[in-house]
Symmetry: C2
Subunit: 504 residues, 2 copies
């Protein structure tokens, strides 16, 4: 009977597929000495105090006490190993292609980008703001546009405000201010917005329009400055009139058959559990490998969740330059956390721990599996746009909603989101596909989970099968042939741009 999963032959712990009662024989010669919760670890051999606890073939930590064969190994029983040194990493040793499957499809139906580059998966009018001050007025205008104008333009999927907490009351010249400014500037260009630029500014904010728009775009055809308008009614009228002109143009867009090399998607995980690294993340990694092989661009992120496995990512970097940037992004984040008097141990959530993830090393190893096995061709600082195609590490915080906003800024037009504990997360600017790590989550959240990878743990399906299913679904969602749950219900989180610089 399939009671627990051992991933690597070197592992001295395995993960319980379901709750294991005390006394149950889990593997030949190992019977549970305690009740083991679902997703939690059981010791497969005696682990004396100070000895390594090994999963994924790597050291998760060192035993803080003698652990007996069959014991439940929980987060209080191991000590974190030292963080990998990012200044001395080996690169390129695993940057070849181990992946020999052929993508079943190499095209999708997308919206060609009028400016070149990646293609869109949706046709959305985005109204960007320079500052939070204008959000109240813009939201009212957007509500009216959705009700009164959008129905006249059936080829347009939505009208969304790009509201954020940035723009004023911030240290705009702080070294780290480059991050939120770049993010807002690049977000404008997300190809799901069809090259139509519309900005609502206040007039006295620090994030002046010229910081986010080039000279050719910074004009009265694209920019509304509220302080120049005669009151509230005039503001609403101006926004609605400009929106209608943009909607008329967006309405002319049509999908065309495009190569998958025109697609750029993001992958992230949130509310992870111990199954994430065995089921949903490897399946996502398989789909990512298929996409990359078909020429597509796939971004993965979450610095604090790869930090402890970064040496493994370094081996997959295609060049010294890429490896160096990977190290730099890690070092930047180490320093950022230091300034806040915390470290990487701040990452796992109570939910992660409940789900069986003992610490950040275990979480990192599971997190990394969603990147598949492709070579890493580029590393992006938060909110930067890709310069190459293929698998890319886009450095962002691991916070789901911050990662989502920053990946959108980097240009993704669709996101795959794997989850163990479950979150109803969604993005207004791109469809989000939810993949569950456990069938029990799919069962309870049947209308919110798009694909259940939990069947991998029970042996009902393989990573390859689920990866193929996900690849197929990604292409169909990208082509507008399917709508994942978050899109169907219009569940969208706030756009939480990463601002590591001070508020003033």
């Amino acid at each position: 009977m399939h009671r627990c999963i051992k991933i690597n032959s070197a592992d001295n712990v395995a993960v319980a597929i379901n709750h294991i009662g005390k006394g149950t024989v889990v593997i030949d010669g190992v019977s549970a000495r305690n009740d083991i919760p679902q997703g939690h670890k059981i010791a497969l051999e005696e682990i004396p105090e100070g000895s390594p606890i090994i999963r994924y073939g790597v050291i998760l930590g060192y035993a803080l006490q003698d652990i007996r064969k069959g014991d439940w190994v929980n987060e209080n029983m191991l000590e974190l190993p030292p963080t990998p040194d990012v200044t001395r990493m080996t690169f390129g040793t695993r940057a070849g292609w181990d992946f020999h499957h052929t993508p079943p499809k190499t095209t999708f139906e997308g919206y060609r980008n009028p400016k070149g580059g990646f293609a869109g998966t949706r046709n959305i009018l985005a109204i960007t703001t320079t500052v939070q001050c204008v959000a109240g007025v813009l939201n009212i205008a957007v509500d009216r546009i959705r009700r009164e104008i959008l129905p006249k333009y059936p080829n347009v999927d939505d009208v969304i405000p790009i509201n954020h907490a940035y723009g004023c009351g911030v240290a705009i010249d702080a070294p780290d201010a480059v991050i939120p400014i770049r993010a807002i500037k690049n977000l404008l260009d997300n190809t799901n917005f069809g090259g139509e630029i519309m900005v609502v500014a206040l007039g006295c904010e620090k994030l002046t329009v010229d910081r986010i728009l080039g000279d050719q775009d910074n004009n009265g055809g694209n920019v509304i400055v509220l302080q120049e308008l005669e009151g509230f009614d005039a503001m609403i009228r101006a926004v609605m009139e400009m929106a209608e002109r943009k909607l008329a143009r967006l309405n002319e867009r049509r999908r065309e058959t495009l190569p998958l090399s025109d697609l750029c998607i993001g992958i992230q995980c949130g509310g992870s559990d111990a199954f994430s690294g065995i089921t949903s993340n490897p399946a996502a990694g398989f789909a990512a490998d298929l996409l990359v092989k078909a020429g597509a661009t796939v971004l993965f992120s979450e610095v604090t969740e790869v930090r402890d496995g970064v040496h493994i990512l370094a081996e997959r970097c295609v060049s010294e330059e890429v490896c160096k940037k990977l190290g730099n992004e890690m070092a930047w984040y180490d320093n950022y956390l230091n300034k806040g008097q915390v470290d990487r141990s701040a990452n796992p959530t109570p939910g992660n721990k409940k789900g069986g993830l003992s610490n950040i090393v275990e979480k990192a190893m599971g997190s990394i599996t969603k990147s598949g096995t492709s070579p890493i061709v580029e590393v992006l600082a938060p909110g930067e746009k890709p310069g190459r195609k293929g698998l890319i590490f886009a450095a962002t915080p691991a916070s789901d909603f911050v990662c989502g906003a920053m990946q959108l800024a980097s240009g993704i037009t669709l996101q795959v989101f794997t989850t163990g504990r479950g979150t109803p997360y969604g993005l207004a600017a791109a469809p989000v596909i939810k993949v569950s790590s456990r069938t029990s989550l799919k069962n309870i959240w049947n209308d919110l989970i798009d694909i259940d990878a939990g069947t991998i743990a029970t042996g009902e399906s393989t990573i390859e099968e689920k990866g193929m299913e996900l690849f197929d679904y990604i292409v169909r969602v990208a082509s507008g042939e399917a709508r994942p749950a978050a899109e169907k219900y219009r569940i969208a989180n706030d756009l939480c741009i990463f601002n590591p610089a001070p508020v003033t």
Copy 2:
């Protein structure tokens, strides 16, 4: 003719009431040597390089070049003086009562707080979230509650989601995490929410419900955990059902005549210009003095905007303890800015400068005038609740939307917002009264500005008259007899909680 305003007899500059053409005689013996924009400064005497430039009787900075009598004095012509040392401030020397006017009213019609303490000015159902993850689902539920349920409960003013960017993907144990956690916890208790507690949580977030609710409130009657519910429809149903129970109770609330000592309001300024310190802010200060004299509590804030005048605030502190806390809050912020490699000079915005404010000293002196002349009885760290009644300095960032959120957390139920350049800012949780510093703003934004204090500059009205008018309007708005523009149009900014700790 009234062309410019000199505030203090020691001043060597005055401020242009309107644009002054080159060659115009502005005061006996002074004619403009350049065109002087509205709100900008003109030199009243020769100011040699290195000499102080004086306004409000304080040194704004030192001349970087020889300035001739009649010259336009702009932000490029003066150097910042050193920041006041917060470790050695004199306190209490001006903590008496200079203010001898009698409040024309000492009661208002408010909602008594079932838990005691300050009374509400509005009757709102607030649905608090523990984490941004749930915001997408909650927003959908709130839309439906507003349309389908709220109309049945006519005594309730609104239903609002307390969404924020906090709750997970954050360093919850960082020293500075105390600020956002306290803010969310205290926000729940804002008396405009009538003591009804309703929290929507996810289930695996770092900001667990017990961090914001006490044992007596943390139960199924007040808390919905999305991960425990069977999918999207069940979530929407659960939120709507709980909301209806809360609405039924809130609907029983009635206004009663209460002493003004039950009222707690906030004052802030945003989009300031050189008139703010002469017109709208002194008028707000006069109204604040009347309120405090009537027993009310008035919060003013914005650390970076008082930093350079803090020694003047120290003189108004009633005790050494209050003065010490004032210094501590300034020192904390100095350190916070230092870590981000910026300083107080990051504050004035391009709009401030266009409006004639040369630097942060000039902005601070104008900003402080809105606190009136009352003794400062308490200093609050960001998001703390008052322990005393009277005039209180509540330390918050100067960012309008962050200050608004943090003053709400400290318990204000109404805000007075003075503005020179103009912003359509609003809060969902409390009415915001907008006071313009210039009549030209009121003329262009007639439907957004509630009170024009610009007539003080032209001599058409006095600070006392405008202060009385504002006091009367505050009492009427607090009593539900008047609705300011932002409330009428339902203009509300996002709730931007101050989080100085790292995102993970």
